[in-house]
């Protein structure tokens, strides 16, 4: 097992290297001089100032030197300094991470809680009316563009009915000193719609996956054996079928991280949720390259480790799989 972990970690090194090269390469494709951003028609930069900014960001060095400098800083935990905010990228990001984790994490838990029973039931009653309905709606859920769905919800719940706020993390400009409860109620109202939007697509995808897993396990011989020796159907399903069908879901969790973050980006954008995705979008719009590069790297690393832990969990949970 240790050997497997070690080998799996070793494989991640070339992947990380290529990832950094791609990220660095994308930013190098930018037409124009990155220093132009410090210039305005009223204040053109003198050649001296230009050279000073170049030196400050290390832009006067050849490309490979710039690359190695960036990578070595990355591995020291330094994501760079934002052009726009003139602050370390890490500090800027750190108070936005919890907000994305809150939204994406809650959505993940909620969608699993909903999708696992739905998918299982659907598989047990294959081709029934219930199953067909679930299948149809999971197609709808997958095809539903999340930004459009979000806008429709805003039109209904905020504009027409006036029940929920259109956007933001909580209502600004209200002091809740000594009355935390009201703040939480307010925050919850802001959370409902983004959470629902993000969860819908996940439920659709997960329940289909769960359905196919259960169907596959149901065909296995040991399920027949369990039934043959007279176990009650509920026992067969709970102890034999579900346990094995849930194993691959662990892998799915790791693999769904990039989708979750991508979905969160658009949802955050629609609802002005002050998370990572929205920050990333603002930074790319402002051509704040250190933030863009730092965040791309961070998200790639998170995804990579997500997959790693998913594989690891799978290896631990499923004794049938031999790793050597």
């Amino acid at each position: 097992m240790l050997q497997y972990i070690f080998r799996r970690l070793m494989i991640m090194i070339p992947t990380l290297v290529v990832t950094t090269i791609v990220i660095f390469g994308i930013v190098q494709l930018t037409p124009g001089d990155p220093v132009d951003r410090f210039e305005s028609p009223e204040n053109p930069l003198t050649a001296e100032e230009r050279a000073r900014i170049y030196a400050r960001y290390g832009l006067d060095q050849p490309l490979h030197v710039q690359y190695f400098r960036w990578v070595s800083l990355l591995f020291q935990g330094d994501l760079g300094t934002s052009f726009n905010w003139n602050a370390p990228v890490f500090d800027l990001v750190s108070n936005r991470i919890p907000k994305t984790v809150e939204l994406a994490g809650l959505s993940l838990i909620l969608s699993l809680l909903i999708a696992i029973p739905i998918g299982t039931f659907s598989a047990l009653k294959q081709y029934s009316f219930w199953d067909n309905t679930v299948t149809f709606f999971s197609f709808v859920g997958v095809a539903l563009p999340n930004f459009w769905f979000a806008l429709l919800m805003v039109a209904l719940f905020s504009v027409t009915l006036g029940w929920l706020p259109t956007s933001l993390y909580s209502t600004t400009g209200i002091a809740y000193a000594g009355n935390e409860w009201n703040w939480w109620v307010d925050h919850l109202k802001h959370l409902i719609m983004p959470l629902l939007v993000l969860t819908t697509a996940q439920v659709a995808a997960f329940s289909r996956y769960m359905r196919s897993q259960v169907l596959e396990v149901l065909r296995d011989d040991y399920v027949n054996t369990a039934r043959a020796k007279g176990l009650k159907e509920g026992h067969v399903i709970n102890k034999h079928v579900l346990k094995n069908a849930l194993l691959p879901v662990v892998t799915l969790l790791g693999l769904s991280l990039p989708f979750l973050l991508s979905g969160a980006l658009i949802t955050e954008q629609v609802f002005a949720w002050p998370g990572l995705g929205r920050f990333f979008w603002e930074a790319s719009g402002a051509r704040d390259y250190p933030v863009v590069m730092g965040l791309l790297f961070m998200i790639s690393v998170v995804t990579l480790f997500g997959n790693f832990f998913a594989d690891l969990a799978y290896a631990i949970l499923d004794p049938r799989i031999k790793y050597d």
């Binding site: 494989i11 070339p14 992947t15 290529v18 990832t19 791609v22 990220i23 994308i26 930013v27 494709l29 930018t30 037409p31 197609f139 709808v140 997958v142 095809a143 539903l144 563009p145 999340n146 930004f147 459009w148 806008l151 429709l152 805003v154 039109a155 504009v159 027409t160 259109t166 991280l257 990039p258 989708f259 973050l261 991508s262 980006l265 658009i266 954008q269 990333f280 979008w281 790319s284 719009g285 051509r287 863009v292 965040l295 791309l296 998200i299 790639s300 995804t303 990579l304 997959n307």
Partner: protein, 304 residues
């Protein structure tokens, strides 16, 4: 004697066995799924709408860029079926024209990713060894990228334009096809007919193109169909973020983007209709893809 032979042929024809070519088998299989057939019909309709947008808008609607000065933010009505936008342009005409760009992007992205994915997958699976390791590692790296983040980075760096969108979305969509082709070729290349063509001296690329690729077409077609849907969604998502094809050229995504601020004032149709077209297209493509998967799989058709 001659009569006897022709008699035999007649028997075969009557039994219908001779007529069951692969295409016909596939078609009859697809025919069994009303959802897939219905979706195919809707998609053909949308395709025709895109091809003939000029004629359609000329006959029954307006120029997509024409401004009706007095009719800003009009509700849907017999004159303006889907209402008008904030500049007084007819939304129905804009959506018809928008289908052109949205559908073209979807199809070109799928083509792009099939070409790259199939080529790399075939080389990887056929030659094996270090080439395989190298390509598969590379594919893993791409699969690992959280799509929309990289799309945003690429598109903001390169300026959003039609062709930049196509290759940016395409370059993120090929790994799935690459893996499928590789897995298929790995098992196909051990078959006798490949050994036979090797023994008569066929070269690697000839075997790949003439013998292996045609046999992996079924899963590639299914995957390409789904890629079209993914690309349409990606284009619309980027447009929604203001990073799609730039106005005034209409696409479904950027009409929705322009309509966003007017949602609060109650003009819900401005965002509703373009989104509906995206949704229905993607839904139909997914249904069709699902139907194709069943129809193209010989295991399913021979089993029934």
């Amino acid at each position: 004697m001659a009569q006897q032979v022709s008699g035999k042929i007649n028997v075969v024809e009557k039994s219908g066995l001779q007529n069951r070519t692969y295409i016909k088998l596939f078609w009859s299989q697809l025919n069994k799924s009303p959802l897939a057939m219905g979706s195919l019909f809707v998609l053909i309709l949308f395709g025709a709408m895109a091809v003939f947008s000029g004629q359609i808008t000329e006959q029954i609607a307006y120029d997509p860029l024409k401004v009706f000065v007095g009719d800003r933010n009009e509700q849907p009505s017999p004159t303006h079926w889907f209402g008008t936008d904030h500049l007084g342009r007819d939304l129905f005409s804009r959506i018809i024209w928008g289908s052109q760009i949205s559908l073209t992007i979807g199809i070109l992205v799928a083509l792009f990713s099939v070409i790259i994915g199939a080529l790399l997958g075939a080389i990887s699976g056929f030659f094996g060894g270090w080439i395989d390791t190298l390509i598969m590692r590379f594919t893993d790296v791409w699969l690992n990228f959280p799509g929309i983040f990289f799309l945003i980075a690429i598109v903001t760096v390169l300026e959003p334009s039609f062709w930049n969108l196509i290759w940016a979305i395409g370059i993120l969509s090929w790994p799935g096809i690459c893996r499928i082709v590789r897995a298929n070729i790995l098992s196909l290349k051990e078959r006798e007919y490949i050994l036979a063509s090797r023994s008569i001296g066929a070269g690697g690329f000839r075997i790949i193109l003439r013998h292996l690729m045609p046999n992996t077409m079924a899963p590639v077609i299914v995957n390409a169909t789904l890629t079209v849907a993914g690309a349409i969604l990606a284009e619309a998502g980027l447009s929604y973020l203001g990073l799609g094809v730039q106005p005034p050229t209409p696409t479904w995504g950027n009409i929705l983007f322009e309509g966003k601020p007017y949602l609060i004032t109650g003009n819900f149709w401005y965002t509703f209709f373009p989104g509906l077209f995206i949704f229905v297209t993607v839904l139909c493509i997914n249904f069709l893809g699902d139907g194709l998967r069943d129809a193209l799989d010989p295991k399913v058709s021979s089993g029934k």
